[in-house]
Symmetry: C2
């Protein structure tokens, strides 16, 4: 299944084509399955996504969430219970028939586009008393959406995520949960996946259907466009009233619960990760989520046996020390071919073991992120590799953070905003009056610049002339504008 050929375009010159080639040539996903927008996920991407998924699961469990598995189908009537949320029924696939004679089902079943309505139907049965609260759950699953434009790991008709659904006795606790979800995003997406973000409170017109407030982590792709990554929603009592989720409180009064939901789509996070860290040789993986952290390539020649013996010893040693290691023993490929292969796959470190290394009691270590090659003495190997992996992890974070910061701009007037969005992309900090009408004009006149919202948890003061960047009337708040995926 190995591709002989590397990436043939430069990331900086044709990002879109570069991205498609990485997905194909690093064998992440095969788009040739005969259903539009549905991908076949190959082992390498599955192994990475499982790592990211497991990190999120672990963090969520640490914070008191318990796993559940809900049906993949949702009756039409559930979807329609919450008025605003009902809009989702426009975006779904419908199961309508079953069995030998294509019998019509009594009620149409949606392939879940998200599970609020499925879960809250059960929450109303499970929650009776304050003792049942908080109820914190999550499920790792697929969801399906009838999207018109699709792109591997960015937008799909089938994608993978975790959805967290929590219910609380009080509004305060629910609002605290939003902060906890942000912390989870920081711990996994930033620290482990090395993807920086800003957390925005979305404007009213761009909320999740049925939420009181939507808070979303936006990152920036190499082409300067924003990408929405995990979002968390304060649902208030909108769903609890629609689904009758009530409890008897300590004061013996019956109350509606307060709810939040959180959606870390590790499928899309992986897409951002490919885009942000990859280079002209292929994927670049942060060591914390790499299925293989160190690949060993023996360079065979005269001293085959000694080289293989040493390569195997190194493999054993690293395994014993808890590193994810792979010895590439394939005889049908040359060392050079293997270097390219594992660079394409993004493995953080490569160890080369040749006859000279056997003699010198060393190995040569190559870093995927910088390309640097270092000779490391055998006795220092484990320590050096651990240090190098840490360095790569923090280097990738630093590099991504730097790029992110360089893409934060500011504009007082509309022409500047338009110019920045056209020439540089990224986020542009502007004053806004708060009217949707102005947001619509901005979007139309910048060819796609949308208001991503106000910074979460920070009351930013209106700056400069203090006027809305579009209508020039009194501004109410500082928001960030970006073109986006």
């Amino acid at each position: 299944m190995a591709e002989e050929e590397g990436i043939t375009v430069k990331k900086s010159e044709n990002f879109s084509e570069w991205y498609s080639q990485v997905v194909q040539k690093a064998e992440l996903a095969d788009i040739r399955y005969n259903v539009k927008g549905f991908l076949v996920h190959q082992p390498w991407s599955v192994r990475i996504m499982k790592k990211i998924r497991d990190l999120f699961e672990e963090e969520l469990e640490k914070k008191g969430h318990e796993p559940v598995w809900f049906p993949a189908v949702i009756p039409e009537s559930f979807l329609k219970k919450e008025k605003e949320h009902a809009e989702f029924s426009a975006d779904v696939f419908w199961v309508t028939e079953a069995g030998e004679n294509f019998e019509k089902l009594e009620e149409k079943l949606a392939l879940r586009p998200t599970s609020e309505t499925a879960m809250y139907t059960m929450f109303s049965l499970w929650i009776r008393s304050w003792r049942d609260l908080p109820l914190k759950t999550y499920q790792s699953c697929q969801v399906w959406r009838y999207e018109s434009v699709t792109r591997p790991f960015i937008r799909g008709r089938e994608f993978y995520w975790i959805e967290g659904h929590d219910a609380f006795a009080t509004e305060e606790e629910a609002l605290e949960q939003v902060k906890e979800d942000m912390d989870t995003t920081e711990k996994i997406m930033h620290q482990k996946c090395a993807i920086p973000f800003l957390f925005f409170k979305r404007p009213e017109h761009d909320k999740f259907k049925g939420a009181v407030n939507t808070f979303a982590a936006d990152s920036i792709m190499p082409d300067g466009k924003a990408i929405q990554l995990p979002s968390t929603h304060f649902l208030g009592q909108n769903f609890s009233k629609a689904f009758e989720i009530k409890f008897v409180d300590k004061d013996e009064k019956t109350k509606y619960v307060w709810q939040t939901c959180y959606g870390p789509a590790f499928w899309r996070i992986f897409g951002a990760l490919i885009a942000i860290h990859g280079d002209d040789k292929g994927l670049v993986l942060p060591p914390e989520i790499a299925p293989i952290q160190v690949v060993i390539v023996p360079i065979l020649g005269k001293d085959d046996e000694k080289v293989m013996k040493k390569a195997k010893e190194v493999e054993r040693l690293l395994k014993e020390n808890g590193l994810e290691v792979k010895l590439d023993e394939r005889k049908e490929y040359t060392p050079g071919w293997k270097y390219n292969y594992w660079e394409l796959k993004g493995v953080p470190l490569r160890i080369e073991v040749g006859p000279i290394d056997v003699k010198k009691k060393q190995v040569v270590v190559a870093r995927r992120d910088t390309g640097e090659k270092i000779a490391v003495k055998d006795e220092k190997l484990v320590k050096s590799l651990n240090e190098l992996l840490k360095q790569i992890q923090s280097n990738l974070i630093k590099k991504a953070d730097k790029f992110f910061k360089e893409n934060l701009h500011e504009a007082e007037d509309f022409e500047t905003l338009k110019k920045i969005l056209k020439e540089k992309g990224g986020f542009v900090r502007v004053n806004w009056c708060g009217k949707k009408e102005c947001a619509d004009y901005i979007k139309a006149e910048t060819e796609g610049g949308t208001i991503r919202g106000t910074l979460f948890g920070k009351k930013e003061k209106v700056f400069g002339n203090g006027k809305c960047v579009w209508c020039k009337k009194e501004a109410k708040e500082v928001v960030y504008v970006a073109k986006s995926y």
Copy 2:
């Protein structure tokens, strides 16, 4: 969400009702989701099933399988490519519409009932040369089948499994894979889940649709009925010919691959586990798959602080030593209530810490499997608990094996067969002529006794009178008859 009430029927008196109560009261699955045959899986069952799933995944990966994620939908045309396998289209749910106006899709999409046709479509693109073989893959996923009768964790319209799909250059390798799958079943289902089984080669009329041979692990439920657990199928070249999966061999000839598939349905294995190990107090979990191996219940009274301090120390100590431990600190429930609660959940060991235990520098340990209580000195705690967990694991295996053995019978004539199936159940070893007609008569006349097949890997000699148990003509082979789920 805690249930106040324990199981109200005896397993030995009304197994079916007992099973339903355990599923409900141990909070394993909620059947009140409004779509027939679709379950809501609650945290406790999800945590157990994840453990079983992960054990299978680990074992499969150790044996060279790589994970893939295929679409949940399969175009109608794929399903129909292999003639026999096409029968599956009778049992599926169909996605036929999508979007706002319930637009008809160009082609109907089946919710996958199993993924042969999805995967082999891609195998034909991935496999080119002998270098690409063997190709060993697996995916953990849900499948959907339009079943008429459903029962939690036994038969459902949606269930969870792993499906392994392998392709080889030679028939011999494919046949070896069947043995490897049996070894995987032994290692996980028997050694970890403590579920004994016999591995049968199914008769021609009971094969998987499209297979050359089906090999299945059958266990016995407490009511004496057989239950089919993981099966592995030798597909020969049936699918490779239908899907054009060819490779250029070392001899430069183009050949069709040889295939196998393996389906450990951990959802159903969990059902068997509930049934086989549970008792009148609820679930009984083998320590190897228990999400919590040891629960600590503090008995508060006069010396609250000292007791809680000790309970926490014990918790920390056990965690440090790699045990899955939970300290039940809830103040709103009595120790007695907690004992019942965790017994219902099947936690293997309970530690009681009271004021006397603080004084005596000990704790009281209660075994879930035998009910035995033992005082253990603090300094011996870790060692004792590890030993006890091992003892429980092997005791559950031994008990289940014993029950299984007691349910293996033999019959030379039909009346004996009928009597055993009616009065005792289990497997009855009989001679058979090999004709489907006789199998049909046996099934009709015993009210459901089916021929499960010949023992895998053993050539059993025809015994006694050497005549078919039904037609009394010359018998060809020894087979096992059982009523089944």
